[in-house]
């Protein structure tokens, strides 16, 4: 997409389906109206797009369906402000603008042959879902796959149908946790970083990929370091307020790097080379 056409011009898509994931998160399955464009749309796991509601504005979301399943592009949107509120009002058949793909992606080539340890919290499960599904669709390329996924309460867990599926699979391990006890909850209780410490995965031949709210990421990174993970074995995604998404509006820099083009995916080793301004 670079250079050839106007990068500010969204492609028009249509909402195929809306799934209420949690009280404040909905997933939207979107197809581009131009069938040729939809067919030729290429992206990598972890890349984002700007969704447009014309008249309200744009906001950034990761494309959380994997490139191995191109029937539609899925976005999971947590209600946070103006644009997300209007996105939540969308119904099947409504138009939506899509500008992307934007940003870098998970270095899945470098992870081949390794054990993968996903650690997700809240809406941070969205980018992890893309990579997880991509890896499950290319299962033989990767070693053991583990997902530790936490939410505040059972009803705050996204992708409930898939979670059941993942739980049933014998080629991956799923650990679910919620912040505190709930009557119907018979799985783990505790904050993600604490559960991680209890589980104490060995860093041997492993890559840990974590995504979630800033505070969760901070403590998860600490826990991983305590467990002996090296900085280049840890991958995370950063959030910044974005507008252009293409390195021009100047908004999302951390030192010389722009989260919108050099990120959102960074290894901990890369992060440590940046000025401490997260």
């Amino acid at each position: 997409m670079a250079n050839s056409i106007n990068p500010f011009l969204p492609k028009i898509g249509t909402v195929l389906k809306v799934v209420q994931e949690t009280p404040n998160i909905k997933s939207f399955q979107v197809v581009l109206n131009d069938q040729e464009r939809m067919k030729s749309f290429r992206f990598e796991p972890g890349q984002a797009a700007q969704l447009s509601i014309f008249g309200v504005g744009e906001a950034t979301f990761v494309i959380n369906s994997p490139p191995t399943r191109m029937e539609y592009l899925q976005f999971s949107v947590m209600q946070a402000g103006e644009v997300t509120e209007r996105i939540h009002q969308l119904k099947e058949g409504n138009p939506i603008g899509v500008r992307g793909p934007l940003g870098n992606w998970f270095p899945y080539e470098d992870m081949k042959g390794k054990d993968i340890y996903f650690i997700g919290g809240g809406i941070g499960m969205a980018p992890l879902r893309t990579l997880l599904l991509f890896m499950l669709d290319n299962r033989k390329d990767y070693g053991e796959i583990t997902l530790l996924y936490g939410a505040r309460s059972p009803q705050d867990l996204c992708y409930k149908e898939e979670v059941k599926e993942w739980e049933a699979r014998d080629d991956m391990e799923l650990i679910l946790t919620v912040d505190r006890e709930f009557p119907e909850w018979d799985k783990r209780v505790g904050l993600v970083p604490n559960v991680l410490k209890e589980l104490a995965p060995s860093p041997q031949n492993k890559v840990a990929i974590t995504c979630g709210p800033p505070i969760m990421i901070r403590f998860t990174l600490q826990a991983l370091a305590e467990l002996g993970f090296k900085d280049d074995q840890v991958i995370t995604t950063l959030e910044r307020r974005m507008k252009c998404g293409i390195g021009l509006c100047g908004r999302c820099n951390i030192g010389t790097k722009y989260v919108c083009i050099d990120g959102p995916v960074f290894s901990l080793a890369q992060l440590k080379e940046l000025p401490p301004e997260l």
Binding site: F54, N94, I261
Partner: protein, 346 residues
């Protein structure tokens, strides 16, 4: 410079601009009050102010303070009001334009824009089209002001980088020399007389200009990184009131925002100037703000201009030393003083 020089008498300029106005949009610095000079579209009778730096740089002509990126229209299905379609149209317009009477620091400012908007990984089609359609006529500075420090940041009062036609003030007018083909084309106009007898005077005028490089900026990028986590920024930004004036008057600042404006079923997506000195600029939806106070914001502004931009763009500073932020700052923060202190402490 070349021997293709021509002489442009001062009294021929209004006629020249009027004729050029037949083919181009012509912008020139006009005196709007005793203290304010602005680039306006030239009209006959306007009071040209060519002997002083304009209050604002001409960046607005290529990168408008407000511009439309696209327009959209919703079409409702009368049978089913739940259903709607949206049609989006690109609104890209680039008319042939002349900026007459820029300063070398203004022309170099556009080179900072070029690096980001024209030659980067992603191009900005709006800027790109306007840039291509624009010819820059620069007047060299034979009398720099006391706020000017262009020589310290790689430019100079007689620097011609980024200009298409270069004018050197001489007795009775200007000696005009083309720096690009685009600039040379303007010399066809009848206002330009044969100027061989002025070439020597122009050269002498240029040689006479004295603006010493007052700042020693070698290694400043590294100094800035070393100071990043120190209290230094608290001290230097103490006076700042986050008004953003420094960014609005700057010929190299390009941060922008994008917002939608709707009237009924139609609307426009608008790009407007924004400023890294504002709290909202980096405020995230979660409420988290990576640059919550003026300390981080001031640090980022200086860091961007003197460390990040040069690191990303082959050593070019994001500052052309025009001194406008020094003149505009309501609390008299002087970027030169800050840079000196960076070198002392870093």
């Amino acid at each position: 410079m070349s021997n293709k020089g021509r002489f442009l008498a001062t009294d021929k300029i209004p006629g020249l601009l009027k004729r050029l106005g037949g083919t181009y949009r012509v912008f020139a610095p006009v005196k709007v009050s005793d203290t304010v000079i602005l680039f306006h579209e030239f009209k006959e009778g306007a009071q040209l102010a060519l002997n002083k730096q304009a209050t604002l740089p001409p960046k607005e002509i290529l990168f408008p303070q407000t511009e439309c990126l696209l327009s959209y229209t919703y079409h409702k299905d009368p049978e089913n009001l739940e259903k709607s379609e949206v049609q989006v149209e690109e609104t890209l317009e680039a008319l042939p334009t002349i900026i007459f009477g820029a300063r070398p620091c203004d022309a170099r400012g556009l080179m900072v824009f070029d690096a980001v908007f024209n030659d980067g990984q992603w191009r900005d089609p709006y800027y790109k089209a306007r840039r291509k359609a624009t010819t820059i006529v620069t007047i060299l500075c034979t009398q720099p002001e006391n706020t000017c420090f262009c020589t310290s940041v790689g430019g100079g009062p007689t620097n011609t980088e980024g200009s298409d036609l270069v004018l050197t003030p001489v007795t009775g007018g200007y000696f005009a020399e083309p720096a690009t083909e685009k600039g040379g084309a303007l010399l066809q106009d009848e206002a330009f007389a044969l100027g061989h007898n002025k070439a020597d005077e122009a050269r002498e005028e240029r040689e006479k200009v004295s603006l010493e490089s007052e700042l020693e900026l070698d290694g400043i990028a590294q100094c800035l990184l070393e100071l990043f986590s120190t209290d230094f920024w608290k001290q230097v930004s103490a006076k700042c009131i986050s008004c953003g004036a420094c960014t609005y008057v700057c010929p190299t600042c390009y941060c922008f925002n994008i917002t939608d404006e709707t009237a009924g079923v139609k609307g426009e997506r608008i790009r407007t100037w924004d400023s890294c000195m504002f709290y909202q600029y980096t405020l995230e939806a979660s409420g988290h703000n990576p640059r919550p106070t003026k300390v981080e914001r001031y640090r980022n502004r200086i860091g961007h201009k003197f460390s990040y931009h040069p690191t990303n763009y082959e050593g070019m500073f994001g500052c052309t030393g025009c001194g406008r932020c020094i003149k505009a700052c309501p609390v008299s923060l002087d970027i030169r003083q800050v840079l000196r202190e960076v070198k002392v402490h870093g």
